[in-house]
Subunit: 365 residues, 2 copies
């Protein structure tokens, strides 16, 4: 999605990804197959471009630091990424800057007596490597299964809604934000299934969420698009959950519902261009399109034409050539005159369109 | 722009173009370098795909007929294209169906006494091969320079505004249209410089324009996106100028300002999918970005960051790797709260961004 924006803007791209069959391989100007931890490959990439950015947090930060010192612009800055990659560091840094969050602590591993001392229910998050619900465990009581590794521990928050504010910050420190979005999760898989924006929260809550988010991206000295995930508690508090220093699933609806997409904003920011307008022109609901449970092989869709009949729908398939059980294969955004209508229509589309695989797909129905 | 839509929708593409370095060569799933008149290449293309469509009128219609008869879906149908390709046939067909147009006649060539008999001022249009202002001559009087070839002759119309209605028609005859757009031309080069939509014309004029346009695409049995260019005369008449059976410059603003872009609509229609919503969510003005007069070589831009600072701007560069004098290198669309503001901002962007070439660009300033 970022390459589409780059093509339109006349920005040439070179992309590095471990999968030579990844969707962007055919779209990038140049393509380098390499693991994101591969320092030598990162040095090679730096030799080909003016600016390096990344769309995933699990990158070799030391190599990014090295190329930045050698003169390549690396944005967001490796220092910011290093803080975010370690959830304990991220939380400590944000707390230190006065940003609201849950009560927290740190533990060395599952046997650490600090877990019991901290109290339950808590949320254990591995300091490094978590992604899309992995590396996170809810500890209801002392018997709950714990994760193995140095972890951040947070008091379980009494969440009313999970909100996200997609922010943009340029190289000179100017910040802006899209309207506050509400994220809805599949409680079992802990995967975001639906994003609604502007979130149907009181004006004052939206204003506080925006303020906290903008202060958060400034506190981390981020450049580019960044999503600040927030908890709105039943008591009405706004707490920072975590930060994604890149275009984020909660901002995908900006492609179809805002003046400038989060992907174009990221490119504008890292390239030193003026930020675009963050106005959202229509209420919108985005649904993630996941492969069916147990699906494998090449993707096979059913209900495609029925989904395409949904008014106001924009379908975004990612061109992944393999399905896996519940793999994110695309998303669909519906814009409508109000959020409730958009939500109904988005659910209708998501209900119609099923992504199976050539193996195991049909059987799972 | 159509390939971007196809990628999102999961539609695989094979593209045929005479220029192996054309912008879509790197984006299409498969790419075939061939002249659009090459019957053998068209047969080869048909062997690779389920549906053949085209984005330019100058295609080998006989070859399209042949592959259609052999079972490939060719849309719009070759019969429709054959009528449109010949401006005399197009006019005769539309007149025959009761669609309003200027008084017309036909002549064999520049010496035909029918030109004088028809009267002046008139517009001589070569029956075949005209494009972007080429193949058209305004004959002010008997001394005006005439074109060489069989031609359609039309009475010069007292035009107040040139309007365009971008229509969509599916395989089953369902039609719809985007809001009426106003086209503005460079009087010297006869190139469209600016498109504004919804056009600031009275409701009743817009309704008549829409009605004429929808009847026009039905009369030609078109499938896909088609632009019906109309004259609004000082007397308040709506006359059909001509029809482009494909996504059209006057519909480019639908990418940023409508629920569904004209490119996605074209794909939906030719693929037998339901049409998308034609609602325009924001007033919009599009400006074409032409290379500077006399420019040559590779493109070099100036004023890029100043243009990008224009609020509500979406830049669409086409990735052409060579400039020519006044070649269309891209377009920019501005959406704003009203049309007047969008127009000001679009002009500001177009005034800032200059596309020169590595040869001859700087000198021409």
């Amino acid at each position: 999605m970022m390459i589409y924006a780059a093509l339109r803007l006349g920005i040439e791209t070179a992309v590095m990804d471990p999968d030579p069959e990844c969707p962007c391989a055919g779209l990038a100007g140049r393509f380098l197959t390499a693991d994101l931890g591969d320092a030598e490959a990162i040095r090679r990439l730096a030799g080909e471009v003016d600016i390096v950015t990344y769309e995933i947090e699990h990158v070799n930060t030391d190599a990014l630091r090295e190329i930045a010192e050698a003169g390549t612009a690396v944005l967001p800055r490796p220092e910011s990424l290093a803080v975010i990659q370690d959830k304990r560091e991220q939380r400590a840094h944000l707390s230190g800057q006065g940003l609201p969050g849950p009560r927290w602590g740190e533990v060395d591993g599952p046997q650490d007596p600090g877990i019991d001392a901290f109290g339950f229910p808590s949320v254990q998050k591995l300091r490094r490597g978590g992604y899309d619900g992995r590396g996170v465990a809810v500890l209801r009581d002392a018997t709950s299964e714990r994760l193995d590794g140095p972890s951040l521990l947070e008091a379980k928050v009494d969440v009313e809604q999970e909100l996200s504010v997609v922010c943009v910050r340029d190289r000179f420190g100017h910040t802006d934000a899209y309207p506050v979005a509400r994220m809805e999760f599949d409680p079992e898989a802990n995967i975001c299934t639906r994003v609604c924006a502007p979130a149907d929260v009181p004006e004052s809550v939206a204003a506080r969420a925006r303020d906290v988010a903008l202060r958060t991206v400034a506190a981390l000295d981020l450049v580019g698009t960044a999503a600040v995930e927030l908890f709105l508690t039943h008591a009405g508090e706004i707490l920072v959950n975590e930060v994604a220093p890149r275009p984020h699933n909660s901002g995908h609806l900006t492609i179809d519902a805002a003046d400038t997409s989060q992907f174009e904003q990221h490119l504008r920011a890292v390239c030193g261009l003026p930020l675009g307008s963050t106005r959202q022109h229509s209420p919108a609901v985005m649904v993630n399109l996941l492969a069916e449970p147990g699906a494998a092989g090449k993707p096979v869709m059913t209900g495609y034409a029925r989904a395409m009949a949904v008014p106001g729908l924009s379908l975004h398939l990612y061109g992944k050539n393999r399905v896996k059980s519940r793999r994110k294969m695309g998303h669909a955004t519906v814009i409508a005159e109000d959020l409730e209508r958009a939500r109904q229509l988005a659910d209708q589309a998501a209900g119609a369109l099923r992504i199976h695989g050539t193996h195991g797909a049909e059987e799972s129905e």
